[in-house]
Subunit: 255 residues, 2 copies
DNA sequence: TCAAAAGTGTTCTTATTACACCCATGG
DNA sequence: CCATGGGTGTAATAAGAACACTTTTGA
């Protein structure tokens, strides 16, 4: 006898299913829900940060947690993750990447919830908490100083950080965390921060600049840095059009 | 007013929830299910293959589909993917990697089903279909000649293949697809096949061997290849213990 | 004039590429 | 003895790593 019931157990495959029919069998498949959790990265004061929310209710009341929500019935997963971000920050069209789905049976103390983890990259300078009750409970935390989070959110954060660390070296996503115009030193510090390089093992300034400029993906702005108590740096911006063209010619970003 | 209901809508957060209470609101979150789909890769006759199942029922009756199943209520996601594989092949302890979750609202014609995609790597020489009804409907297909699959399974396959293509260059997973003892030429053909290199752009034999042997992760077996109508090749095996040791010393596999 | 960060080239080392012939076996 | 794939080294090129001083500004 074959055990793999495959999709047969699903109500969607029982031609004459109603919600009250065969409940004992079907019920168990539906005492479950799915959610998205979003690790929202920002970069500020040379430090990689994430936006956390202090939980107002049980379970894990008063613990910090990743922003997340159940996925609405008529909503794609990516949309749900985007919605969570927009409701919290008001930002749209932000870089968003699905990372991994967490579904351990007991990951949620009150029932079966599997969660799809995403991370987003935002320009923290654009950031303003929406004027809502969230404003009181959402806060930036240095990634390196995050304590014990609710649920399995430490594990989720670790996965998303590892993914970002890989991604930042194989795609031009670092720029999503910087203002439109940035200095090469800022960019270097961003990389060092994401890659969690110890201060004495940082990137070599000359080699980094040589490498990044040789890609020809940055264009120098007219303006210079202003108001600093030292020689002002040149400002650059990422040239996405050029990158898209290079991409179509088979170029692979690698740093 | 804050819109992000967060977890509040979940029955798990309503302290006095029963299945019949507040059905109109809660119902919609539970007219949904989650499944796993597993892209099972094998390597045979110099060709990368996947195991597909011909569907016996609607929807997509008689179409080829990835093996998959709903996730049982008391089962982790990885376990579910492993179970699907074991029920189909009888194999356990096989390489398994989660890739991506697909949850487009209309990906399943009969309801909301989000599916977590996995791929597995099996030594096809170990493979024997379990003596079940599956035996009649499961079949190996060359990855390059897969036609139109059920649901969004072509998209899932594409994601899993891309992931395998990256993984095989950054981790010692290719060996999972070969017999314990293999020749360097077999290994090279495996790489060429996974990376889908056109025949005239294949890897250079000498450079490939130099690179792979310089890693010192292969040990030469006593035996030689037998029964071939040409000079018999040396057989090698992957030394996992050595790899684990290298790993702990900070080694990174890269090919 | 001092502090602080910006900016800039060269040498050395290592990894990658390109490339052609002899060898061992079975039929 | 022939067809088939196995096995081997070197030279050229490209990429990465190491490294120190001068410049410009504001305070």
């Amino acid at each position: 006898m074959i055990k793999c019931a495959a999709y047969n157990k699903s109500v969607f495959f029982a031609p004459n299913y109603t919600l009250t029919k065969n409940m004992s069998e079907v019920e168990s498949f539906f005492k479950s829900a799915f959610s998205v959790d979003n690790v929202i990265f920002g970069f500020d004061s040379g430090d990689l940060k994430i936006l956390l929310i202090r939980r107002g209710q049980q379970p894990f009341q008063d613990k910090w947690a990743l922003p997340g929500d159940l996925v609405y019935p008529n909503e794609d997963l990516d949309s749900a993750a985007g919605r969570v971000l927009e409701q919290l920050t008001g930002l749209r069209g932000v870089y968003l990447e699905q990372v991994k789905t967490f579904g351990a049976v007991n990951r949620h103390p009150l029932g079966r919830v599997i969660t799809v983890a995403y991370y987003s990259l935002i320009k923290i300078s654009n950031f303003k908490l929406t004027p809502s009750s969230f404003a009181q409970t959402a806060q930036w935390h240095s990634v390196m100083e995050v304590g014990e989070l609710a649920f399995d959110h430490n594990e989720i954060l670790a996965s998303c950080l590892r993914r970002l660390q890989r991604k930042v070296r194989t795609g031009p996503v670092g720029f999503e965390l910087l203002p439109q115009k940035f200095t090469l030193t800022e960019l270097q510090h961003l990389y060092e921060s994401i890659l969690a390089l110890p201060k004495d093992k940082g990137l070599d300034k000359r080699n980094f600049r040589k490498k990044i400029l040789s890609m020809e993906l940055l264009v120098q702005c007219e303006e210079m840095q202003e108001g600093v108590a030292h020689r002002p740096a040149k400002l650059y911006r990422f040239d996405r059009a050029k990158y898209d063209q290079f991409l179509s010619e088979g170029y692979v970003f690698d740093i």
